[in-house]
Structure formats: structure tokens, C-alpha cells
Symmetry: C2
Subunit: 244 residues, 2 copies
């Protein structure tokens, strides 16, 4: 089972485009806005399209813009000077990027790179803050977005800091992904848009260890892979791996 990720990364696009091009305004950020607020927003935003594997912004850069992801997927990661990488997660349409830095004025905490081609609406930091001042309704969504960023960071901290073995860490990660996946006949499933190397970079283990551990999980009939789709056959069993 070699994950045909690069193939998938291209194929998925067309579907997503069809699915999202028309209804991005119903996302959590835009939904509560009044028509006037929406017009206000549109007058400030600038729209852009990007291909796959483009860096939108990098950690340490001073924050100048807030991005709203309308279409596509964006990988959020941290990079060390020696080339090591820690992947925090993948942002989906509707998410706001660079929120934390917009408020704190600090440089971006993470690096954002497009995984698939993306459509993005971006605002200058100052415009964004001014927009919020005029439309306090949006504060709630923004605070919620910030909470979720924090929550995800905590989730990752828990896997990295409390999972003693690599088995435990991988099991936790799979369960985390499983929680946002869908239910099917044989159990919950989800698609992993990441290679083994990238999975390893989510939990701080090597590519080889991911391969070996995944093999063992499959041997124990805890999970099963069909292409890049992962089916969790034994949720309970996977949970018990976390406690090791």
C-alpha cells in the first residue's frame, strides 16, 4: 500500500472547486455578518489564487496580513534551521490563518504552505482590526477560530509530550484524524493527504518508524488502508495503544 498522495493532491482539486466555488460565504466567518458588513469586508479584501506547494507566509516573518482560506488545503508547520519540520495540521476552507499574529503583533508562529491549489481572501492586518472594531459580531467567530487554533496546538502537545512510545503517538494521531472523519460500514474512515514522512513530522518520529508501526497496526487489525483512505476497524484497540 503505497499512498498515491501526489496523484490525489491533483485529483481532489476539481471536486473541491466544484463543491466550494459557489458557497464560500456560508463559512463560519461570513455567516453571521450582515450584508453591509459583508460589503465592507469585500471592499477591504484582496482575492488571490495559488498553485500547490506555495508558501503563503513563514514563521518569524512579521505579520502583515490575515488570510481567509476559501478553497484548497494549507499545511501548517514549524521548521527548524536544520531542516527538521513539525506539522501542526492541515487547514480547510473557511479557516482564518494568521489570526494570532494579527492580534499580538508578533511574527507568525507557523509556516503556511498550500497543499492543493487554493483560493484565498486576504486583508492587511490594520484593515482586519479596523473591520472588527466596526463589526463586533465578527469578534465571536474570530475568538472561536483562535480557540480552535489553541485547541489543536494543545492536542498536538498532548501527543508529543505525553505519548511515551511512537506507537502511542501514532495511535493518538490516527484517533484525532478519525474524530473529524466519517462513519462507514466497516468503521470510521478518513483520507490522509500526507506521506509517511509527513505523518512522522506530525508526531516527531522518523519515516521508517511510521512505516513499521503502521504495519504492526495493520497486522493487529486495528486499522486498514485502501489507497490513502484509512479505515479504523478497531477503535477500542487503537485507544488502548495510547496508554502504553
Amino acid at each position: 500500500m503505497t499512498a498515491k498522495v501526489s496523484k490525489v493532491r491533483k485529483a481532489v482539486l476539481t471536486m473541491k472547486q466544484i463543491q466550494l466555488r459557489c458557497d464560500w460565504k456560508v463559512g463560519p466567518f461570513f455567516k453571521p455578518l450582515s450584508p453591509e458588513a459583508l460589503r465592507d469586508f469585500e471592499s477591504l479584501e484582496s482575492r488571490s489564487f495559488h498553485g500547490a506547494n506555495v508558501t503563503l507566509f513563514a514563521e518569524q516573518q512579521t505579520s502583515s496580513r490575515v488570510l481567509v482560506l476559501l478553497e484548497g488545503e494549507v499545511r501548517l508547520s514549524m521548521n527548524s534551521s536544520e531542516g527538521k519540520r513539525l506539522i501542526l495540521g492541515v487547514a480547510r476552507p473557511g479557516e482564518i490563518l494568521g489570526l494570532s499574529s494579527a492580534f499580538s503583533g508578533c511574527p507568525y508562529e507557523v509556516t503556511a504552505e498550500t497543499l492543493f491549489p487554493c483560493q484565498i481572501a486576504s486583508l492587511h492586518r490594520g484593515d482586519f482590526l479596523a473591520f472588527l472594531k466596526h463589526n463586533p459580531v465578527a469578534y465571536d467567530t474570530v475568538a472561536l477560530g483562535l480557540s480552535l487554533d489553541y485547541k489543536r496546538a494543545c492536542e498536538r502537545l498532548r501527543t508529543l509530550g505525553l505519548g511515551c512510545t511512537s506507537h502511542a503517538k501514532l495511535a493518538r494521531l490516527l484517533l484525532e484524524w478519525c474524530a473529524v472523519g466519517k462513519e462507514s460500514g466497516q468503521g470510521p474512515h478518513f483520507t490522509v493527504p500526507l506521506t509517511h514522512r509527513e505523518i512522522g513530522e506530525c508526531i516527531g518520529v522518523s519515516r521508517e518508524t511510521v512505516s513499521r508501526t503502521l504495519k504492526e497496526f495493520k497486522r493487529k487489525r486495528l486499522v486498514d488502508f485502501h489507497g490513502s483512505t484509512c479505515v479504523v476497524s478497531d477503535h477500542r484497540g487503537l485507544e488502548s495503544c495510547c496508554l502504553t
Copy 2:
């Protein structure tokens, strides 16, 4: 050099009490509030005092309250079922605890325990959200607080996920603490209100490794300890440890 932490944990209190009892309202949360807003807040809050080593709230609990730390210090940590602990940091007076959960409605992400005796103002989650609605000025402070929580989590993620060796991780942690410390004659210094075990729990290494690594740092004249005060004598040298 055994850190006389428990002694310090009591001694510091009186100083802090004198220092903060009178002027807690100038903290970042209260400063921008109008007198009316302040009265509004005071009508909603309930004040409480706690001794050392009291659990204010625990992760997984459903969020019911937002706490404003007026006096004392609070340890924020995550705990695994097997008794392993990951310390995220120490909250200082003026900080708001439980913000993220208040917005998301999710259970608390972390456990908060008093390190020193504390004075705390707390609001029901609903009251807090209503207060914000009526006083949008406070949103900025709250968003900033949330940003800083996120930033700290990211900082910790960087040490845990990108620091390969225990030396690198400890060096990063010391530099992190150093950044919020004060300047003195021989270099920047700060006090560590944590034991070796707790320091280890910040970066996911064992007590013994902290002891050994600190010893080596002292041998290399990178840092120096006087009681529980740490002086960073060679900031550059410590930085170069992070790159290993």
C-alpha cells in the same frame, strides 16, 4: 545547588501580596475598561482565595468559569492517565485562565493548579460572554490573551517537536524563560519556581537528565545558579546548543 523551591514558594507570597493587592486593576484586562464596565464586571465576579497546591480546574472538565488571576502563580499542565505530566507554563497575575474553553464550549484543555497562594476573580462562562457583548472594548484584551496562550503553546511545541536532543530542549527552555527575565550585571537572570522534576516535565525528559544536563551547562559556564535564580552567563553559547 539544590533549589530551595518549597521555601521560596512561601517566602515570595508576602512580597507579591504587598506589590499587587492595591493595583491589580491596572492589569491588561482591566486597564481599558471604563468605570461603568468595571462596575459591571465587579457585579458579576466572585472573589476567592486559595492556598498553594490547589487544583482550580482540570482538563476534560466541562468549562463553567473564566478565572482572572489577581495574585499568586498558577501552574498550567496536561496530565496523562498513567501519571505523566507536561507543564505548559506558569501563569502570572493579570492573566485570564480558561479563555479558550469559554469561547469554544469545549472542556478545559489544561489543568490549573496554584503554585503559590492565589487571589482569583471568577465569572460564570455565560456572564463572561454577556459581559463581552456589552463591552466590546474588552474583546481586544481577550483576543490578545488568547493569542498569547496560543503563542506559548507553539513555543512549547517548538521545543518539544524540533529540539532533537535533551540538551537542545533544555537550552531552548532556559532561553525562553530568559526572555521574560531581567537584565543584571553578569547577564540576564530569572527565578525558576520549579523543581528539576518539573523542569523535566516542561520538556519531556527525566529528572536525572535535567540534573546531568544542567551540570554540563554549568561546567561549560553557559549558566549559573544561585539558589533558585538562574543567570545566563553565555547567551550565545546557550543558543548554539539549540542547533544540535
